[in-house]
């Protein structure tokens, strides 16, 4: 799947902006302060969006006008703006608005869990590979190669067949897809830290292997990892729509954004565009919010931006 964006190791540097420090640049320039304000606004907006969708999901039973599986096939494919069904209805005559509200429960939770898991696994593998000898690193990176080289759908189908379709499969498929990317991105980042003096210093101060990985290096790559991981959330919801088109994943009639996109895509040419468009937009908005949140969290991990004593 080419669903993944790869912020380079250097992304961070670019985010930080041109450091004029050597030439005597001030600690905190006005430009940076302003862009900081913009970043903050972005993060707040992101948090508001995410919180709103989480709240919608959490209080779905109270908010949603209909049950997500309340079907009336006689009322199917009502268009956007129909009375009683503001967002229209789907193939089974279910209220799209209600399904979008309920769908957040599965989509957001699944994507978050899966992305968290792949981030955990990928980052650990990358850290270990980055600081191990050729043999271990080679083994890990070859394993990653196997995952990369293995067509995603085959893997996803295999999970589905072995486990039976359901949420677990979606989570595993996402982990399978995302882990190699996370590993590769973090590995590249970790490699940049391998020769750093602070690592050498840690060795000379008696730090052991794991201590170096998780206490010294991890804090330095954490921001990068967070940016990448949050960028994955939206892409992975979209990815779950691709696999649910194959019958893998959340089983009907449960509402799930990915499934809604794939079901909607079945009738785009037939002319029922909103059925596909609305869940697509929702995912897009949530994904953008996570992207922005990631940028903001990166700042949180970065003491340069966290503190402003002078």
């Amino acid at each position: 799947m080419a669903l993944l964006q790869k912020p380079s190791g250097e992304a961070l540097a670019a985010v930080r902006g041109p450091a004029g420090s050597r030439a005597g640049g001030p600690r905190r320039s006005g430009a940076r302060r302003r862009s900081r304000a913009r970043v903050n606004a972005q993060v707040v907006l992101a948090l508001v969006i995410i919180a709103a969708f989480l709240a919608l999901a959490l209080f779905a039973p109270l908010i949603a006008p209909y049950a997500p599986d309340a079907a009336d096939a006689g009322q199917k494919y009502l268009p956007f703006g129909s009375s009683g069904h503001v967002f229209g209805t789907d193939e089974q005559g279910r209220d799209i608005l209600s399904r979008l509200i309920w769908g957040g429960r599965t989509s957001m939770v699944v994507a978050l869990i899966a992305v968290a898991a792949s981030t955990l696994v990928g980052a650990t593998l990358a850290l270990v590979a980055g600081f191990s000898g050729d043999r271990v690193a080679g083994l890990i990176m070859r394993t990653i190669d196997v995952m990369f080289a293995f067509p995603v759908i085959i893997a996803a189908l295999a999970f589905a067949i072995i486990l039976g379709p359901g949420l677990t499969v979606v989570v595993l498929a996402i982990v399978f897809v995302a882990t190699p990317y996370v590993t590769r991105v973090v590995f590249a980042e970790v490699k940049r830290h391998r020769g750093r003096e602070y690592v050498e210093a840690a060795v000379s101060l008696g730090a052991g292997f794991w201590s170096i990985l998780f206490r010294e290096v991890l804090p330095n790559v954490a921001g990068q990892i967070v940016v990448y991981a949050t960028g994955l959330v939206g892409a992975m919801i979209v990815f779950s729509s691709s696999i649910s088109a194959l019958g893998i994943g959340v089983q009907p009639p449960e509402a799930d954004w990915g499934r809604m996109i794939s079901e909607g895509a079945k009738v785009i040419i037939s002319g029922n565009v909103t059925v596909a468009l609305l869940p697509g937009l929702v995912v897009l908005v949530v994904a953008l919010a996570f992207n922005w949140l990631g940028d903001g969290l990166n700042d949180v991990f970065d003491p340069h931006k966290r503190r402003s004593r002078s």
Partner: protein, 530 residues
């Protein structure tokens, strides 16, 4: 020996065709301005298939989409009348001109058509037929094909001998009466369609599919798996001259893409139109002929689930299903409800029969009787992802009679594996199949056995099917099948649901297309208007 009763009809049709072709002017067709409705020769017909056809080997082939391609290349001894849109198709002579059966119903003698050649010019005769027969039944034959034999065993398992009587006459002998044989010979799968033995003698059994050669109106040109199959007109065809010069079959599994390709004019004809798209197509001037194939969607039970041992439960699930509403709502009215396991177009189909009519009260009562209060009966319905919408509809339908249904929708293979190797809590599964031959009932029943039904538990059904299959009395045959279907229906071992009444869509310039009451069509009669 009695002369086949369809012979007369067939002869009349051939005569009509000759007259028709005499009227037309093939040579000058492209030059003269053809009036509307007057067939034109030439052009390339592009057909969009929704599935990749299987091997183009007459004895190994499967799936209707395969046959929609391969029946242009191969022919059988008999064929169905594909101009008939209403009733059960009639059986017409094809590579055999005449056939008769012995009184005990076990020995069939075929007179073979003269002057027919395979696409490479070699002769069609009893010798060629014999090689076809030996390929699927005679292990001593050099080109005995184990895999074909295994597939054809269903109908040819009781074949005791095939005999070349003379150059134009061939005799099949079965160990049991087999009155359905001529119609079986006109089918698509597990039957003896005729391929050119010279090909397997040259390329081997495995190589045949790469060089498919038969006697049909079109010759194989090329195939790119996953993309297209190209055919060209067989100039030496023994029957009516086909109209279009070439036929291109494109394989477009994605429903939306296939639809878009038709809408954009890249295709002339597509299979499997979604009910949702009928209006779109008709509004834009495309033809979506009404008709009915010989198939039905049916729901079957997981007989390994103890809940379904109780006939009342099975009946309740039929009573609880409003098939008219299903056809109207989910299929936008482009389907008709089905109440019999024999599909429309089947020679033993009776449109008047009814099983357990929609009656939710009764369903609830029956469940109550069987010990299931509201919400007590719960199971999963397993479907191919393509039928997911039906499953969702069923789910809400069954909720109304207090039955909790969970859906498991799977890719095709996984679906088959699960449906035919069900898990404990599985309840229902959904299939589509059917045929014009009365014997289809036995196939359908065998399929149910694959889902855990033990035939020994239903001796009346097996008995009735056996009786129908092995009768030697041609007049009693259809009635026997009907009564077998009734027995089966009363046992509520399967839930017939609907049959699609729109299936193909054509460009506005495609003429001469007929949707016969079977699962394929005859493209040699199709022509393209300007």
């Amino acid at each position: 020996m009695r002369t086949n009763r369809w012979l007369g009809v067939g002869a009349a049709l051939v005569a009509a065709a000759v007259v028709l072709s005499g009227c037309s002017n093939p040579a000058g067709a492209e030059d003269t301005q053809a009036a509307a409705g007057e067939p034109q020769y030439g052009g390339d017909l592009v057909v969009g298939l929704y599935l990749e056809p299987l091997a183009l080997d007459p004895h190994r082939q499967g799936y209707w989409e395969t046959y929609r391609v391969s029946n242009n290349i191969f022919e059988g001894l008999t064929r169905e009348d594909t101009t008939d849109t209403t009733g059960p198709t009639e059986i017409q002579p094809a590579l055999a001109t005449d056939w008769s059966v012995s009184d005990d119903g076990t020995t069939w003698t075929f007179d073979l058509r003269d002057g027919v050649t395979f696409h490479d010019g070699s002769d069609w005769n009893a010798e060629a037929l014999d090689k076809n027969v030996r390929r699927i039944s005679d292990p001593t034959y050099e080109f005995y094909d184990e895999s074909s034999a295994a597939k054809l065993k269903q109908w040819f398992g009781t074949l005791t001998s095939g005999t070349v009587v003379d150059d134009d006459t061939y005799q099949f002998a079965f160990s049991k009466p087999f009155l359905g044989f001529p119609r079986i010979l006109a089918q698509s799968m597990a039957t003896l369609t005729i391929g050119n033995p010279a090909v397997w003698e040259q390329y081997g059994n495995d190589g045949f599919a790469d060089h498919p050669e038969g006697t049909g109106p079109y010759k194989f040109v090329s195939r790119t798996v996953g993309d297209r199959i190209e055919l060209e007109k067989n100039e030496e065809y023994w029957g009516d001259e086909p109209y279009v010069d070439t036929i291109t079959f494109r394989i477009i599994p994605n429903n939306q893409t296939r639809l878009a390709s038709l809408l954009s004019g890249e295709l002339d004809l597509i299979s499997y139109v979604q009910p949702e798209d009928v209006e779109t197509l008709e509004a834009q001037g495309f033809q979506v002929p009404e008709g009915t194939g010989s198939s039905l969607l049916y729901i079957s039970y997981n007989f390994t689930n103890p809940a379904f041992e109780d006939v009342r439960v099975r009946q309740a699930l039929i009573h609880g299903l409003d098939r008219q509403k299903l056809a109207d709502e989910l299929y936008n009215g482009y389907a008709e409800p089905q109440y019999s396991f024999q599909p429309p177009g089947n020679e033993a189909y009776d449109p008047e029969v009814r099983d357990f009519e929609y009656d939710p009260e009764k369903a609830i009562a029956l469940l109550e009787e069987a010990g299931y209060g509201e919400g007590d009966l719960a199971f999963t319905i397993v479907v191919d992802v393509a039928n997911q919408n039906t499953a969702e509809w069923l789910q809400s339908q069954y909720k109304e009679i207090g039955v909790d249904v969970e859906i498991v929708s799977l890719d095709r293979t996984s679906y088959i594996a699960r449906a035919y190797g069900p898990e404990e809590n599985d309840g229902l599964s959904l299939d589509e199949y059917g045929g014009t031959y009365a014997e289809w009932l036995s196939q359908g029943f065998a399929g149910l056995a694959g889902k855990g039904l033990d035939p020994a538990d239903f001796p009346e059904i097996t008995g009735a099917i056996d009786a129908a299959a092995s009768t030697a009395d041609p007049d009693a045959r259809i009635d026997l099948w009907k009564s077998a279907e009734e027995t089966l229906r009363n046992e509520a071992v399967v839930i017939p649901t609907v049959n699609l009444t729109r299936y193909y869509a054509l460009g506005s310039n495609v003429e001469g297309f007929v949707w016969p009451a079977t699962n394929w069509y005859d493209l040699s009669k199709v022509w393209l208007a300007d």
